[in-house]
Subunit: 158 residues, 2 copies
């Protein structure tokens, strides 16, 4: 039987595992456990990163911006997939829009939904995997570190 | 005669000079001439920075994100003023929204208007100084470096 001639479906769950591993590294460093990764359409890893607010005292490094910077200079992001353990905040949603990412895989949007509805409204494909591992990892962190979490999203202290 | 009891108007033009000096430093380093600075409501400089895409091969460092990171961790941005030589792109507009800046001073929006209408629509005060110095500095750069400029805003090469 001939092999069907189709484009393979990207293995989003496997991609999320890379972002989740980054989040866990962040936690082990004493940081906020949010990770991200960029892949091409062939499923090859381009870069990965994690939130480094606590570790580097740098509020600009969210998981998504860390993965983005580590990918280096690219001429186009149209065919790259942004994978993140948590729905991107407005800052990172703006990054997605400005640089023309067309697909964003989010581990979860239960702890925080950020700008995903806005991204959907402008035609960005959002794949929400509703991962219990991602939900639990961040929910536990937020419960134990509410001030750091609120600082990370620019909210007043709880 | 008693001194009138009023809040002094911030000197936005003087603030812009700090951002413009950063833009010129960027140009002298061989980079894209866009600079930014954060001030408090008393007019005190908190931080400043400039685009470092070329210098550090880092696409995540726009003028605004550089000034933001150099301000370090802050618990609130409500009373800080973001000053930038150019209207913020979507990425930097998302930063403004997520972290709750209420006032953004832009040197110009002629070369690029980014997300300023969106920011206005959500209640952010945008003060556009339409500075000829800012317009000329960036327009000259774009004319001589169209590919780098397009890369910086995620557009296809011209």
């Amino acid at each position: 039987m001939p092999t069907p001639n189709h484009t393979p479906v990207p293995d989003y769950a496997a991609m999320l595992q890379v972002a989740l591993a980054e989040a866990r590294i962040g936690l082990s460093e004493g940081g906020i456990p949010i990770g991200a990764a960029l892949f091409n359409r062939q499923g090859e890893l381009i870069s990965s990163g994690h939130n480094r607010r606590v570790q580097q005292n740098d509020p600009s490094i969210h998981g998504e911006t860390d993965a983005f910077r580590r990918a280096g200079r690219q001429t186009s992001y149209r065919d790259l997939i942004m994978v993140t353990t948590l729905a991107p905040c407005w800052y990172c949603s703006g990054l997605v829009r400005q640089f023309g990412f067309r697909t964003v895989v989010v581990g979860e949007s239960e702890n925080f939904s950020g700008g995903i509805d806005w991204l959907r409204s402008i035609g960005v494909e959002i794949i929400d995997l509703a991962s219990p591992d991602c939900i639990t990892l961040l929910a536990d962190y937020i419960r134990e570190n509410p001030h750091i979490w609120n600082e990370d999203i620019g909210e007043p202290a709880p």
